[in-house]
Each structure stands twice: as C-alpha cells, then as structure tokens.
Symmetry: C2
Subunit: 304 residues, 2 copies
C-alpha cells in the first residue's frame, strides 16, 4: 500500500463514520418532530440494516463529486445517507428466502434471521421510502429544483429501469444464462445504476453545468463497470472469510459473468481500461479530481 | 340508492377509468424515453398488480380535492396514479406468504401466486419507487416546490411513520392484542395515512392556502377513520363472495377492532359522527364540497 492509497483509505473511513453518524441520528428516534410515531421493532430493524459496517462507497462518491464541483457538504451527506438507505434496502430484500436466501451479511445475521421475514420486507420498504423523505425534507438545504431532479434520478436508478429491474434480470439469469449483452445490461442496472447516480447526484447538489453533470455521470458509469468486474473477479478468487458471505455462488448458480466468458487476463485488462477512462473523464478538473481518481483505483483494486 | 348517490357512483367509476388509463400508459411500455429498459416479467407484474379493478378511491380523492380548490386535473390524475402505485405496492407485499399469506385479491390470484414470490417482492419495490418517479417527472406539470412537498408528504404517509409502520403494528397485534389507543394508532397509520394524504395532496396540487390544506388534511383524517370503521363492520358482516377475499380473518386472528371492543351499535353511531364531522369541515366551500361530501357518505356506506 503506498502513501497515497493509505491517505485515501483514511479519508474513505472518516467519511463512512460521518455518514453513519447521520444515519444513526436519522434512525434512532422513536418519535420525530413530536408527532411521527415509529414502531420500535421496525425502527430497530431499519437501524440494524443500515448501520452494519459497509464501506459507504456510494455516499462517499456523492460527497466527493459534490466537493469537486463546489457543492454543500451537509446536503451531500444527507443525500449520501438517503442513497445508502436505498442500497441497504436492496440488500435486505435480496437476502430474503424468496430471493438469494442468505443468512449472513458481512458476517452478521441478515435482517430476516435477526428479526423475521415480515419485518425484513417492511424494513426494506421503509428504508426505500425514507430515502425520498430525507431528500425532500427541509433539513436538506438544497433548492427545490435540485431536490426534484435528485428524486427523479434516484427513482430511476433504483426502480424497474435500474436496480430493481437488474435484480429481476438476475433472478431470470438463474434459469437461463444471459448472453454477453444480457450480462452487461443486467450489471449496469443492478449495480451500475446506483453508483452512476451517486456521482451524478454530487453534480446536481453542486448545481453544476449540464456538461459537468454528464461528465460525472459518465465517470459513475465507468467506475460502476469497474466495480462489477472487480466483484466478479473477487467472487472467483477470494474465500468466504474475506467476503463475509458465500462466494463462488454466482458461478455455482450458472449465472454468466464477463470473467467466466472471457477469462481472468481479459478481465484484468478491461478493469484497467475502465479505470483509465474514468480518470480521463476527470482530466478537466486537474488536481481537484485526485480523490475521485483514487476512488476509481480503489474500486478496481479492492480486496473485499 | 337515491339519484344523488347514483350520480356519485357514476362519477367515481368514470374517474377510476381515467386513472386506469393513466396507469396503463405508465406501465405498458418496455422502453421509456428510448433508453429506460424495463424487464418484461417485472413490468407485466407491475401492470397486473395495479390494474386489478379497484375502486381507485384514493386517486378520486386527490382529483376531487384538487378540483374543489382549483388545481390542475392532469396533474391531479398523475399524482393520483402515483398514490395508487403506493396503495397497490402495499397490497402486493401484504399478501406475501410471510405477511398475510393471501392467495386471492379481488377474486384473482395475488401477484406471488400469478408470478412468483421474488417477482412479487420486486413488483412492490418497483411500484413504490415508481410513485416518486411519477411525481417528480417533467410530465407532472406542477411547480418544483409543490413536487417537493408532495414527495415529503407521500414518503411520510407511506413509510415507517405511516402505512408501513401500521402494517408492522398490525403484525405485532397478531401476537398481542393492542388496547384501544393502540388500535386507533395502528389504523390511523395503516389505512388512514394514505387517505389523509390523498385529500391533502389535492390541496397541495391546487397551491391552496395553509388553512385550506389543513382543512383538507383534517377531512382526510375523518374519512380515513370512517373508512376503517366501515371496513371493520364489513369484515364482521359480509361474506367472502362480496369482499373477494377471506373475511372474519381479523377476528379469527384475535386482532382487536373498535367494533369488537364497543359493539355494532356504537360503531354505527361513531361512523355517522365521522361523516358529520367530515361534512362540517367542508362547510366553508358550500355547494362546491358536494362531491367530497358524497365521497364521505359513500365510504361510510360502502358494501365492499
């Protein structure tokens, strides 16, 4: 690990702690504004599901993309927390018996194991709903126009045309292996859409020009591709202890990945290409793009 | 049935057809704006779940409340369709084996029976997400400020402090019967919150004064109470054929209702009181409030 990546990982960790503090505050009260009653078991499950030790990569991207373009940090933290609620909802629902049927997530019991299946369904539903609450709430200090654009972009990234649709394709892929284009579409929707949104959201928060917004969106697309490819490589090479979940599962379920299709050497060359393209997209920002550039490298080189 | 209620029911039916036409348009395309790909099985399940022959009472309330205060009808139709997506998502998830485990909904197979359980989970998730898409989309011609207020109010009505939280309380009530205050809170959240939102949304769409908005919100609260009480009465008196779903279930599961607690005579008197209070709230609008007044009476007197 060189000095630069050490600094980057410290920054990533520090930001994760900040995001977790925001999430903890948002999900700790049983009564909000003196009138909104939150049933305790469900509130506790939402807290459990979203404060479970992830890297908080998506909020980090929101915050660093906003920072690059001069956006407000507190607003970016709240939008990042909203995005993390969406990510965590998807993990809770994906883990359900009717979906991937996973008992462990990051080495801890999944929500339907720690609580029960009905509570897990409602936990996912409530986290998804809460994401839109957080963005629209007066405490998120952004112009209404930005909130509307963020709401629309998040709904599209998370819905049938994005993450949820990608999960549907993933379930279908267990029955019939998709071709290469099918794999690319599935991954762009299931994993790529939220990562792309994270980067684009930073630009929206900053009130960036359409050119900057497009550039950040394209950067998000590239690192989304890198993220998925790194995930597929990890899935074939790492062991369950490192990942904290069952591995080799995708292969076992005969779902195609690009690594399975083209081999490891191709995958590693492609991964480097995605990172180069991501970096090139940030060249107009010169030195200010360093953190996001390091994020791209980190995503490609991560070990878990 | 007198002439006035006949006219009212014709109006309700005509509006339901309009709402269904909007939902059908929103959920029929497999590609949106030339770029948003919708996996076919999931899109089809969303269409099935939301075009299943309900009365579309919530959209009707949005549209009539907006009309009372001079709001745009097309915007109200789209917000009504969004609200119906939230209502339908809740039915799909409530019907799941881990929740109420119902095979039939309005006499037709529920989504997890007609499709499969994983698809039903994703269908609910995607309908909920799509509701926020519809409100924020440029096709909904409303000021950004109104869209943000609608987004926040809908998220609060649907989330842990509203419908989803009410469903969590309902599940808990199967294990331990709530006291009277517990029943009131449960019902206000599970059923009342979306009905209240429907009426308040009409005021928001119309850009109404805070006084008018509060008045419509209070009207929505009253008819929400009436709706739930009528439901509890129906549940004890009607047969499965009329309701199109299993009845007597709430009693069988030993969940308390106010009818079980206080008896039928009390319930009918209370129902009439809710309707009178709802009507009184509309008195400042004189004749213009007639349709909503009839809606209150219809809700209290409905047979299914």
């Amino acid at each position: 690990m060189d000095a630069s990546s050490e600094t980057f990982e410290a920054r990533l960790t520090a930001t994760a702690r900040e995001v977790e503090a925001v999430l903890d505050t948002l999900l700790s009260s049983s009564v909000l504004n003196g009138e909104i009653v939150r049933p305790e078991r469900l509130r506790s499950a939402m807290h459990y599901a979203s404060l479970n030790g992830g890297k908080r990569l998506r909020p980090f991207l929101v915050i660093e993309a906003a920072s690059l373009l001069g956006g407000d940090r507190d607003a970016a933290l709240r939008v990042g927390a909203a995005l993390e609620c969406v990510h965590c909802y998807s993990l809770v629902h994906d883990d359900l018996p009717a979906m991937d049927d996973d008992d462990l997530r990051r080495g801890k019991p999944t929500v339907h194991i720690a609580y029960d299946e009905a509570t897990a369904i409602l936990t996912g539903d409530s986290l998804l709903t809460y994401a839109f609450d957080i963005i629209a709430a007066p405490e998120t200090k952004l112009p209404d126009a930005a909130k509307v654009v963020l709401t629309l972009a998040l709904a599209r990234a998370a819905g049938i045309g994005g993450m949820a649709g990608g999960q549907a394709l993933d379930l279908a892929a267990e029955k019939q292996a998709p071709d290469e284009q099918g794999i690319v579409t599935l991954q762009a929707m299931k994993t790529g859409a939220l990562i792309r949104f994270a980067c684009e959201a930073g630009a929206i928060i900053a009130g960036a020009s359409p050119e900057d917004r497009t550039r950040l969106r394209q950067f998000g697309e590239r690192i989304g591709l890198a993220f998925q490819l790194a995930d597929d490589i990890l899935d074939l090479t790492s062991d369950a202890a490192t990942m904290g979940k069952a591995t080799g599962k995708d292969a076992g379920r005969s779902k195609g990945t690009l690594v399975a299709l083209h081999g490891m050497a191709w995958a590693e060359a492609k991964l480097a290409e995605h990172v180069r393209e991501a970096e090139a997209l940030l060249s107009p920002y010169a030195g200010r793009g360093t953190v996001l550039t390091e994020a791209a490298r980190f995503i490609a080189g991560r070990k878990s």
